[in-house]
Subunit: 242 residues, 2 copies
Amino acid sequence: MTNNKVLAIVSGGLDSTTMLWKLQADGYEVMETISFNYGQRHTKELDGLEKILSAFEEQFGREIESKVVDIRVMRDLAEAGAVMGNEELPKQAYDAETQRVTIVPNRNAVFINLAAARAVAMEYRYVAYAAHSNDHSVYPDCRPEFVEAMDRALELANAWTPVNLMAPFVNSSKADIVRVGKELGVPFELTWSCYEGGDRPCLQCGTCIERTSSFVQAGTPDPLLTSKEWEEAKTYLPAPEQ
Amino acid sequence: MTNNKVLAIVSGGLDSTTMLWKLQADGYEVMETISFNYGQRHTKELDGLEKILSAFEEQFGREIESKVVDIRVMRDLAEAGAVMGNEELPKQAYDAETQRVTIVPNRNAVFINLAAARAVAMEYRYVAYAAHSNDHSVYPDCRPEFVEAMDRALELANAWTPVNLMAPFVNSSKADIVRVGKELGVPFELTWSCYEGGDRPCLQCGTCIERTSSFVQAGTPDPLLTSKEWEEAKTYLPAPEQ
């Protein structure tokens, strides 16, 4: 029997949530999700994950396990100075630190390799992550050539229990992801993208603008927006980068 | 000016210690070492690292920073069941768990990628680890083709701040490493290999046997052994696998 079991790297955001639905539609068995908590602001993303997995179970009758891995150690690695616990940092420095973490080097590669450790231990055949083409210009670890090289490295490192890397959206834009998600009935209202972590999307931060403009481009209203916000967004948001 | 700064993945054992001396001899600047504490038994290896770095400074007049990263989270990943803290495990289960960790999947790849995050943050040009040919048959992540693939993945993932992977002993046997170390004046007496973590090497475990037979093959007495132990070792130890 073919092993088509997948461990999916997810954040609770739009891209990785849609990836779960896409993998299911493509005939893969998503067995478990893995998420990384490295003290980022938008932990609200992770809070929503439970609801997303419940919605998945309701729609497809399949339960997906979830695992959150504490990877705050990456903050120490990105710091030039001595290792400090957060409790020693004043509020302002903490915020600065948290911001810097959003550009922690080699992040996706670390996540993928920790996920691969889990996948091999559980004999899942694939690790999947939601890299997409809007990120190609800024994040080299979202590009097809990186996916290919890391896939090869994973395969060679785990020769006894092969594991491969999947990135089903690597050649899709975020607007394409909205189109796919709409088609597959993804509960967009449960996904969260805003970096600010408020009760409602701020509609000002980079991720809010990228998300909203992707919905505009796909011609599908974002259910997180009021109809007034949506009408306004349609008139002034620029098209997203491809 | 060429950036020849290196972050070296070390354990305090024979191979990675000799690698520090080799990198220095080859004209690289080892700026910092990185070690991973994942609750393994032979933390004695790490205890010796400080002395090794002092000996290095005395011999070459260069100080090397050191960093130990807590990566016990890998235990949770290798476990099939629920996540548990060590304090909840009875002694026996803890030992069993610790043993299992010695075969935690994808370990070197995770270490290399965490090290790469650090290297990029500090603008070190290379990450080095001490893979050698005795391990090729058992550990696929010590083979030249893995080194090549992971090097490519690191380079692509960090396109803005290139980092490359070095494995200077990847085509050397452990006996070759002893020969190189002898030549370069490596303080073998400060290095530790035994898994048992006693005051003296047990001379029974796999790593003790591999170490001793490599010294025998290189024709150099291991300073950790008494002359009586050394004479005995010469008569009955099999040659190490190549």
